[in-house]
């Protein structure tokens, strides 16, 4: 089958309308998870089917798409989704954060600050922040309706009781505009402050059939306690390739004798810095 045999952006028009209506309601009620009739996609659940459906419903032919997986443009998930939309929507693609109009992401927010003409689409595995505390959907729905979030604070408190500090390192729960507690998807908590952004942020969970959204400049507060304020932690090392001390680090094991190095998780940020002449300890001379 040729690419021309697909409708623009793969999905049929009725499916896109259904997703688009869910996105609009998601933007109108920031942080609330709108149910939608998620479709089978030509990739398994867990590979970003929610994000792909939201991106498909959002794209226009003039868009320039960037796809990242844990910050990287060149990993399997990112490459295959980018190719998918190149083939089915005919959109231009880029690896440069600044040039992209739509960015689909798995588990990171780019280091380069986003601007107001950009749309960030998150792939979400478990959209319900309360799910690991309360497995029943009927109960969590009621808890959101009644704004009953005590359980989440108990969980964070137990972290402190056990570890002396809040040990939740990713998918750190946030409160949106003082109303809904939201799972920001498994981004590192280092990225949480970037959730308050001039860009439009859309979240798609394919298997769990939920879409939610953050309009630009929405107030997003990471849950914490007065005596244990939120701390967006970061590995205390500079990037071994570009020397950055302000970006999120991946730890890379280099041998079986405890050797390791730290690298920027955001490949575009790292390579842009290297092009500008920034060097780290492991850079080629």
């Amino acid at each position: 089958m040729t690419e021309a045999a697909y409708n623009f952006a793969y999905l049929d028009e009725q499916t896109k309308r259904m997703i688009r209506r869910a996105i609009l309601k998601g933007l109108a009620v920031p942080g609330y998870q709108v149910p939608f009739a998620s479709r089978e996609m030509p990739m398994p659940y867990g590979w970003g089917t929610g994000g792909v459906q939201v991106t498909a419903a959002t794209l226009v032919p003039e868009d320039r798409l960037k796809v990242i997986d844990q910050g990287a443009d060149d990993t399997t998930n990112a490459v295959s989704i980018r190719k998918f939309f190149q083939r089915t929507a005919g959109v231009a693609t880029t690896e440069a954060t600044r040039e992209a109009t739509v960015i689909q992401t798995r588990h990171r927010i780019p280091e380069t600050p986003l601007h107001e003409d950009q749309i960030l689409v998150y792939q979400v595995p478990i959209p319900e922040p309360l799910r690991f505390l309360e497995p029943r959907e009927t109960e969590t729905r009621k808890m959101h309706a009644l704004e009953e979030y005590g359980l989440m604070h108990v969980k964070l408190y137990e972290d402190i009781a056990r570890h002396g500090t809040i040990a939740t390192a990713y998918a750190y729960p946030v409160k949106v505009e003082g109303r809904y507690v939201m799972d920001p998807s498994p981004i590192p908590r280092f990225d949480n402050p970037k959730l308050e952004s001039p860009a439009i942020q859309l979240f798609g969970a394919g298997r769990e059939q939920r879409i939610y959204a953050l309009p630009p400049h929405t107030k997003v507060v990471s849950l914490d306690f007065e005596d244990h304020p939120f701390d967006p932690s970061r590995a205390d090392h500079p990037c071994a390739l570009c020397g950055a001390t302000d970006s999120y680090m991946d730890e890379v094991i280099t041998d079986d004798a405890g050797g390791r190095m730290f690298l920027c998780s955001d490949t575009d940020y790292c390579s842009t810095r290297q092009k500008k002449g920034h060097r780290g300890t492991e850079s080629a001379a």
Binding site: R21, A22, K25, A28, T58, V60, I200, L214, P215, T218
Partner: protein, 188 residues
Amino acid sequence: MDTDALSGGFADAPVQAAHAFRAAMTAMAQPGRIRQVAGAAPPAPLSAAAGTLVLALCDADTPVHLTGVHDTPMLRDWITFHTGAPLCAAGACSFAIGVWDALRPLDRFACGTSDYPDRGATLIVETDRLEPAGATLQGPGIARQAALSLPETDVFRRNAARFPLGLDFFFTCGDRLAALPRSTKVTS
């Protein structure tokens, strides 16, 4: 059915619907910001912007309610032919279309439930005037504050006070539109 009801749809539905939705989405994400849309040529008195919204968002899953001067046989036929959306009473609709005075009172429309606030209706309000001046808007999607020519403010203040329940609005004028979600706080 009048044959005119068969014309005025999207010529290239996937692309025109994508552009229309993008405008509607950025409008909803940035309340008060005015966007231009194109694609639909609906019969009078429906504006091009409202017609484009209908084509981009409505289908057999979304009951539509027409009020006042917009409840004409021609427009009913046009919406039915192009979208397949059932026409219904105010209380059952997902989308309602009309001028402000015809749409009121607003408590006729579904405002969602506390379990499912997304079930609130979307109102497409046809206006003669759409300018970034008048009532002051604050809330999600707005950096500091925005302004929009609203027919009144008190109704929207009460709508926002019921958050997360409430109605969401598109204001349409010619080929331009702006949005006002329930999350926006309106002051005069």
